[in-house]
Symmetry: C2
Subunit: 329 residues, 2 copies
């Protein structure tokens, strides 16, 4: 074995057009339904990982700060999955950094676990298929499965670890959509997504949402393949509203929206319906509003968002690549 | 026949604890589910009605102003139902007034059609049962059925005109609950309730909501009968969230909440969960937040609401009586 079992990988956050909310199997993170997303070129995590037999434990820094214990525990749990798959008992030293401001409520778990999964295998010189990487990344964070392949990505529900992975439906250059993110809160989520997924089934509406998700997946996929913005906007907003409807009717009720989120959602709809801008909104498990728009409308959307009370920051991202290795810094 | 076929009646607005949203029959206003409400002593409509063979058409003033054409049309349509039931062809002159400020988004159709129905029968000297009055009032506005009987009221779904009526489950003195209404907008609703009901079935979630409403009716009824605030709060907030979940996932999506509505909902929940106040929220098809609370907590709720940005006014109402005749002014 080489003395230097290290590698560096980069993976990109993604924004779901058709949402993942609720698991069929919490331990394996098998989702209750399929989902569909766009990778975000502008928001990425870079992870340098070194395996060593000499380390007494895993260690993790995020943006050069020693990570919180809960973050290290979750990372170590994922490394256990990787160690089992790779047949090693080494511990890992991990340095991870996000290019987007911390604490903006932009989820970093998708890009973080995708980058970690790729770096962990590459550091051992093991080259896995994209499909297997995607399934493995899923074990760390469900949506990380979607940050492995490039561009516009569908994650298949699957009935087992192996069959629940994500695949590109169109490359990043297929359609020049942009995600203009209105950052409305720097607070950390009160209920993290892992805990949130576990409450989804407590909503009396969740099964009705799941029964109809295949229709929305088909519509969203068709809209992307045909580059039909109007159709995409309708299904993306409906699916976001459906997920938040589940959240706010769960027991206990989860409200991720802030007052400013609602103001932005209403504004976005007006801009599309009244002003003809190609823009629609979608929100993940947080208060930030992702405004998906045609690149030609992105600048006007950005400046209008900045004028709304409660918008602290605006991030900009085009469709992004899949996870890839980079030269160690 | 007497020369003076007139009568004056008063009826009270009501706030639904278990909501009415969606019809099984739009023309007859047969609801898709049962509902449950509290009459509001502080918010009433007083209606003076005079039948005459000499009038060439129906006329309506609201707060001494000649009513808008759409309001007169809806009133005349209801008078047609009354004329058929009463076997007359007279036209009616109606003077209606609300004691609550117009344009606060407080629905006046429940109290208005309940008062109108009672005045229309009494003016002819006809005395109908409370059950028949309730069913008739329903034809003008669904929730008006609940403003006929006093106190805490259940409206039965029914399968026909006659069997869809409301009945008292507990009198107004049974429990000293108060509705403190945070008025957040003076704008008129963009989508009125009648049109809104017609969209309910377009949400993929509506049938799941309807399948579970009997459980919530039973819980709410039990909580009222046992005066258990904690149980009432849980089911009232859940049912409000469920109705708004349907609204925002309808096609087109209906958002009745304003940013301030959301801020108030979140505050109310904190006040209950963190500060131990007996208060919960519920919203009808509008942005105002009805804060249902124990009378002992009403003053502190009122003053806290006034301190929230976007709250224009606060109304106060105890549990109210049923529709009744009054001496003509």
């Amino acid at each position: 074995m080489s003395d230097d079992l290290s590698a560096a990988a980069r993976a990109y956050s993604n924004i779901a057009f058709i949402k993942y909310w609720g698991n069929a199997d919490d331990a394996l993170r098998l989702p209750a339904s399929g989902s569909l997303s766009m990778n975000l070129a502008g928001l990425h995590t870079t992870t340098v990982l070194r395996w060593s037999e000499d380390l007494i434990g895993d260690s993790l820094t995020i943006n050069d700060q020693i990570a919180q214990p809960h973050a290290l525990r979750r990372t170590s749990a994922h490394l256990d999955v990787m160690r089992e798959r790779l047949g090693i008992r080494h511990r890992a030293e991990i340095r991870s950094s996000n290019n987007f401001p911390m604490g903006t409520g932009i989820a970093s778990s998708a890009s973080a676990f995708a980058a970690l999964t790729l770096a962990a295998t590459a550091a051992l010189g093991v080259e896995l298929s994209q499909r297997e990487l995607s399934a493995l990344a899923r074990r760390g964070s469900g949506s990380a499965a979607r940050s492995i392949p490039p561009g516009f990505v569908e994650w298949f529900t699957g009935a087992s670890h192996d069959s629940s992975y994500a695949e590109t439906i169109a490359g990043p250059d297929h359609w020049d959509l942009v995600d203009v993110v209105a950052v409305v809160s720097r607070e950390h989520k009160r209920v993290d997504s892992t805990a949130g997924h576990a409450t989804a089934a407590s909503s009396v509406l969740q099964s009705a949402r799941l029964q109809t998700v295949e229709d929305r997946l088909r519509m969203a996929k068709g809209a992307i393949l045909r580059r039909n913005f109007e159709q995409l906007a309708a299904v993306v907003e409906e699916d976001s509203n459906l997920m938040h409807a589940i959240m706010m009717t769960s027991r206990p009720a989860l409200f991720y929206w802030q007052p400013a989120s609602l103001a932005i959602m209403q504004a976005v709809r007006r801009w599309r319906e009244r002003d003809g801008l190609e823009v629609c909104y979608t929100l993940d498990a947080g208060p930030n509003v992702h405004c998906i728009c045609a690149s030609s409308d992105a600048q006007v959307v950005k400046s209008r968002l900045k004028a709304i009370d409660g918008v602290n920051d605006v991030l900009y991202s085009e469709a992004g690549p899949g996870a890839h290795l980079i030269a160690d810094e």
